[in-house]
């Protein structure tokens, strides 16, 4: 069973605020799902390569060239930001 501390730590990593009253629910739900996975431990996968791309594609590259956006395209994108200043997206101070 995951501890209260572990749940709070996961929430912090996931950047999701949780209330005290929600912690127990998460403990139960996550522990129940994690029990599921004990089965996988039984399997011998020492000689198995993990799946990268399921139909086997290799890395696809493109030339390192910038594609300019038009003023309208830039506006369409920036319009969605909750707060902006000219062509910058505004956030609370980072430092």
């Amino acid at each position: 069973m995951l501890s209260e501390k572990e749940i709070k730590n996961i929430a912090k990593l996931a950047r999701i605020g949780i209330e005290e009253k929600e912690v127990e629910g998460y403990q139960k739900d996550l522990s129940a799902i994690l029990d599921h996975f004990k089965e996988l431990e039984k399997l011998d996968t020492s000689q198995v390569e993990p799946i990268g791309h399921i139909t086997g594609r290799d890395n696809v590259f493109r030339s390192d060239q910038r594609k300019e956006k038009t003023k309208e395209e830039r506006e369409d994108i920036l319009r969605n930001s909750p707060e902006r200043k000219n062509n910058y997206v505004k956030v609370k101070s980072v430092l």
Partner: protein, 481 residues
């Protein structure tokens, strides 16, 4: 359906504008009961319809899909229109671009009626996890249409759209198709570009059609398949017209029945109806073989490790900064945040706490844990290795058979509210569908029977990139029903 409508359009029996209006009438009559749509795009639709009508008047050739009204799941970006993934966190998001599949269907003249309801961020099997509304199953309004593409399935099944696009990560096209009595196809991973699809689990997601007939699904697939410079996981295609491969003949086809799927515990009605469908394939000349997929018993665990891990990564972008809901946004007074965020961290914590629904948060938490230091090897990496074993099962099976047949779901549509309290029970809905996503193979659900008046779907799975094989067998069953 699509071909019939196409004939009517080119013969002049009906115009696309009239046809589109008829669908909007159908929507205004049925939506109070069905609630399949989150938003309608009437101006766009009529503009598209008029454009096609002009082409017909000038005697120009039009594509099979031209002028025919469809619905699009709300996790696909439609330029200039609200795209929410049925989440509050994207309540005010206006997509600045078209998803590649949208661009493609627009290019052939399709008419887009609106965006359909779904489980929030495609997480769920009933569409009950939508942050906005509950969609009802047109076959029984007290039951769910399935999920996560429940809105698209319900729209097609109720005649509120001629066809629809959905997405499938663990069964989200096929299970609703089964519950609503229609056809749903999940193509091979990489067959269709995912550009513009709000990503859930990048190694599992695929976009596909929900339609009334198998031929319709083939027609839609032909128009959306293909490589894309904006999606490096999409595979090269050769402009195949899948509808040309529907011969209606399965006499030389070997169909495998996985013994693990039909063990004890499977509902007797489902088993009996499935057996009848197997007999039908035999009568049509297919050879039936029992096969084994020994690692399939681990698919649920494998899926519920890989999927949330990828989800936790993909949903990290919803932080209230570049787009979507931000909790200290002056307009979001509907949220009850205790005091406004004072720091950047609190902006993230609060926006995501209030913007995401409980199932989304649960899966992000699960994935975050599975990927965190000390657990990555034991969980995610282990699951990706077991996934290789599951894929090998299919490689071996396809040496003996051409197709694999099973029920799509272990049950018919359940009642609204019936499974919401037990998440593990809800997860079991996907037990027959998730293997196709894990292995990356194409899979189709098509109606095979009814139990107590509720539709039951059968699922055909095929070899990688053998959509034509899967479609033809389903088509043959359909025309012989």
């Amino acid at each position: 359906m699509i071909r019939k409508l196409h004939e009517k359009l080119i013969s002049g029996e009906i115009t696309s504008a009239k046809l589109t209006e008829e669908y909007f009438n159908s929507i205004s009559q049925k939506e109070k009961d069905i609630q399949a749509y989150l938003s309608l795009t009437k101006d766009l639709a009529l503009e598209q319809a008029n454009f096609v009508d002009e082409k017909i008047k000038r005697g120009e050739e039009i594509d099979l899909l031209a002028g025919i009204p469809c619905a699009v799941k709300d996790n696909l970006c439609l330029e200039g229109k609200r795209t929410t993934a049925a989440s509050k966190i994207l309540d005010n998001y206006i997509a600045p671009y078209d998803a590649t599949v949208i661009r493609k269907i627009k290019e052939v003249g399709a008419v887009i009626l609106g965006k359909t309801n779904m489980d929030e961020f495609a997480m769920g099997s009933s569409t009950e996890n939508s942050a906005y509304q509950i969609t009802k199953n047109p076959r029984d309004l007290e039951r769910v249409p399935g999920g996560s593409s429940g809105g698209s399935a319900a729209a097609v099944a109720s005649g509120e759209a001629a066809w629809a696009l959905g997405s499938d990560t663990g069964g989200s096209i096929r299970q609703p198709a089964s519950f609503c009595g229609i056809v749903g196809l999940k193509p091979t991973y990489g067959r269709v570009s995912r550009n513009g699809l709000l990503a859930m689990a990048s190694s599992l997601d695929q976009i596909g059609p929900l339609t009334l007939t198998v031929e319709d699904a083939a027609i839609v697939l032909s128009r959306i398949a293909g490589e894309d410079e904006k999606d490096s996981t999409a595979s090269v295609s050769f402009g195949k017209k899948y509808e040309d491969y529907l011969t209606g003949d399965v006499s030389k086809i070997k169909i495998g029945i996985p013994q693990e799927y039909l063990k004890e515990g499977l509902d007797e009605d489902v088993r009996n109806n499935f057996q009848k469908a197997v007999e039908k394939f035999k009568k049509m000349g297919a050879e039936i073989k029992e096969i084994s997929l020994p690692y399939s018993q681990y698919s649920l665990s494998t899926y519920y490790l890989i999927m949330p891990s990828e989800v936790s990564s993909n949903l990290a972008r919803f932080d209230g900064i570049k787009y979507g809901l931000r909790v200290d946004d002056k307009e979001s007074s509907a949220l009850k945040a205790d005091g406004m965020p004072r720091t950047l961290l609190e902006t993230y914590l609060d926006s995501r706490e209030y913007g995401f629904g409980p199932e989304v948060k649960r899966r992000i938490m699960l994935g975050t844990y599975a990927l965190s230091a000390g657990y990555y090897d034991a969980y995610y990496l282990k699951a990706q290795k077991v996934r290789a074993l599951i894929k090998k099962d299919f490689e071996k099976a396809f040496e003996e058979v051409d197709l694999i047949f099973s029920p799509t779901t272990p049950e018919t549509a359940f009642k609204v509210g019936e499974k919401t309290k037990d998440i593990l029970k809800m997860y079991l809905s996907d037990i027959f569908t998730i293997t196709a996503n894990l292995a990356g193979i194409p899979a189709i659900s098509f109606p095979i029977s009814e139990i107590n008046g509720l539709p039951l779907g059968g699922q055909l799975m095929g070899k990688w990139f053998d959509e034509e094989g899967v479609l033809n067998a389903a088509y043959t069953f359909e025309i012989n029903s």
